[in-house]
């Protein structure tokens, strides 16, 4: 199978999964719903509509034979990996440690050769944003190693 058909395939599987899940949803008594529709009906209707459109899309692919999309550069995969790293650091250490590490590594990954520039960007940006949100907008950040020190 050509990999251009992967997109319709993934979309179809997703739509079928949504329909399957929607069919498991609770139904409400007739006296509440009345002449209107059950909670499951609308999502199922949407997915059926989507499946129809996916059929048309597949036909278009078959007729036009579009070029397959090239694989991403390592910068892109690396950036996505950094998102994962950010999640782990935020959950297990602190959100601001996560932001610092991601900004620093992202700058290096994207081609910044001056370590001090990457370091300054990673330090100053979250610092300024923190001051703005904490002092001006009065937002409380999630607790972690640094926030515990700050909030006490």
């Amino acid at each position: 199978m050509k990999n251009i058909y992967l997109i319709p395939l993934i979309l179809s599987i997703f739509s079928l999964a949504v329909i399957a899940i929607a069919l498991q949803l609770d139904t409400s008594p007739e006296m509440i719903v009345g002449d209107s529709m059950q909670a499951r009906s609308f999502p199922i209707f949407l997915m059926l509509l989507k499946l129809t459109l996916i059929g048309i899309l597949t036909f278009q692919f078959y007729k036009n034979n579009p070029k397959p999309v090239a694989l991403e550069k390592y910068h892109t995969w690396g950036s996505m990996f950094l998102f994962l790293l950010f999640y782990l650091l935020t959950v297990y250490t602190d959100m601001f440690i996560g932001i610092f590490v991601v900004i620093f590594l992202m700058s290096i990954l994207w081609g910044e050769r001056r370590i001090w520039v990457a370091f300054l960007t990673a330090t100053i940006t979250p610092g300024l944003v923190f001051l703005l949100f904490d002092y001006v907008l009065k937002i409380r950040f999630p607790r972690g190693i640094l926030m515990n020190l700050y909030y006490g």
Partner: protein
């Protein structure tokens, strides 16, 4: 009403805080506009969390200012470095850059500034008059009409920006499905929550929009890290001469009309407007051969149209709650977050606030004109900020912005997940704007369909007996099938 509107608009000029805010936001908007990749939509998505603690009028004024100033500023880089800062300025590169290469960058920018300002101010004036009139019509709307109107809005997604009609509709339906996550409004039945009670009230727009527009753009930009930008030199921005004005005034007026009309259509926006404005300028020009080689009519046609679309796009957003573009979708979220319910209510109960917002847009147009004339060269240098510095900063603003909205880490994860989804969608030719518009319109579609079914005792076909609803559904059908029918008829004739 008229007196109230005038005094509310005038109050903007005598409010130093609001004026200062518009001034600062215009600078920010121009910077956002000149940075390739950022644009009005991403900028508004990033700024939305910062407006949470503001007064509603100030908050919407900030978002609207970003919209108009970033839409204009895209032309600066389009002319000087052949890279449109926003997609709406893509048509400006066709003639702006060739003119700049001839050593007339200042003149090209001068034409762009004046055309954008005239387009923007014209559309704000139309907005002031058309919006209340449309609101009066909308006063008659009940659930069937609103249902049909939202279906019409969704059908217009077929022609939104990039991506084919089918892909855009698939994106729109995905967005509508996203709006069904959480407790169903009538029965309270939990849908697609998987036991996560933070989703009980549904997905909130802010983190999703940050993900779809800002994070996905970050990933798109990660592919352009090796790109080298070449600038052309410019001495100063020149105001168009009398000879230039004689050549372009008709083009500007035509593009003002085109842009405002295109902007008013649900789901159409500045990009489409500028393309049509440019092609119409070419069609009506006596000097067609100059197009593509530095025609000032080409610059004026594109620039007047894209800024005229900003005011036009605000009409359906504020009157009907149907966004005219990706950025107005964010402005709509801003309205809702601040308790300003779009629709008739806004124009009857909160007229003053509405006209203050319109007044702010007017002032923003004047301010970006001054900045464009006197500081374009300086702003153009901002576009040379290295991507390896700029986009990590955007990452920080995105995650903190997503968190700040409700103080939930879940929103940060949602922003990142939707960023990745948005990136892959864009890579495969799906535009993210339909997903955003679908998410906004989803609740309206479902709720009004439910109400309509109750009204007609389950007889859905009775919706077709309502004249206005029928009209919108016919428009929706024509919007979807019209091009196919038209091409079929043309083939038969041939």
């Amino acid at each position: 009403m008229f007196e109230q509107a005038i005094s509310a608009m005038a109050s903007v000029v005598v409010d130093p805080y609001l004026l200062g805010l518009i001034f600062a936001t215009t600078i920010l908007g121009v910077i956002i506009g000149v940075l390739p990749g950022l644009g009005a939509t991403t900028g508004a998505a990033l700024l939305l969390p910062f407006t949470l603690t503001m007064d509603p009028v100030h908050a919407i004024a900030v978002l609207a200012t970003i919209y108009v100033s970033a839409t204009f500023a895209g032309s600066i880089t389009a002319i000087l470095i052949n890279t449109p800062g926003t997609s709406a300025a893509a048509a400006t590169t066709f003639d702006g850059y060739p003119l700049a290469q001839k050593g007339e960058a200042g003149r090209a920018l001068g034409i762009a500034v004046i055309s954008s300002t005239v387009g923007g101010i014209f559309s704000v004036l139309i907005l002031c008059f058309a919006a209340p009139l449309l609101a009066r019509v909308a006063y008659e709307f009940r659930s069937p009409e609103y249902f049909a109107l939202t279906v019409f809005g969704l059908s217009m997604l077929a022609s939104i920006s990039a991506g084919g009609a089918v892909k855009n509709l698939i994106g729109g339906i995905f967005g509508v499905w996203l709006s069904t996550i959480g407790a169903e409004r009538v029965t309270g039945i939990e849908r697609f929550m998987f036991g996560n009670y933070e989703l009980y009230e549904g997905l909130h727009f802010v983190p999703i929009f940050i993900g779809l527009f800002a994070i996905s753009e970050l990933l798109v930009q990660s592919k352009t890290v090796d790109k080298i930008i070449k600038t052309v030199s410019m001495k100063a921005v020149k105001l168009p001469t009398l000879e230039d004005y004689k050549k372009i005034w008709k083009t500007i007026l035509r593009s003002c009309g085109i842009g405002t009309f295109i902007g008013v259509l649900p789901a159409e926006g500045a990009t489409v407007a500028s393309m049509i404005g440019y092609s119409e300028a070419r069609r009506w020009s006596k000097n067609k051969k100059e197009f593509g080689k530095g025609s000032i009519e080409g610059i004026a046609g594109a620039e007047a149209a894209n800024n005229a679309a900003t005011g036009g796009a605000m009409v359906p957003t504020m009157v009907l709650g149907i966004p005219g573009s990706g950025t107005t979708a964010i402005i709509l979220v801003g309205l809702m977050v601040h308790g300003l319910r779009p629709g008739v209510y806004l124009f009857t109960e909160q007229v003053e606030k509405v006209y203050q917002i319109f007044g702010s847009m007017f002032v923003a147009n004047v301010m970006f004109m001054l900045m464009g004339l006197y500081a374009a060269k300086l702003f153009a240098r901002v576009s040379l900020v290295p991507t390896q510095i700029l986009w990590p900063i955007v990452f920080a603003l995105s995650v903190i912005g997503a968190y700040a909205f409700q103080g939930q880490l879940l929103d940060v994860w949602l922003a990142l997940i939707f960023g990745v989804i948005g990136f892959f969608a864009r890579r495969h030719g799906f535009s993210v704007a339909p997903i955003a518009v679908g998410l906004i319109l989803g609740e309206m579609v479902e709720t009004n369909l439910q109400h309509s079914l109750k009204m007609f005792d389950g007889a859905w076909w009775m919706i077709l007996t309502q004249p206005l609803a029928l009209m919108f559904l016919v428009f929706a059908f024509l919007g979807l099938c019209g091009p196919m029918i038209f091409s079929w008829i043309t083939k038969q004739k041939d």
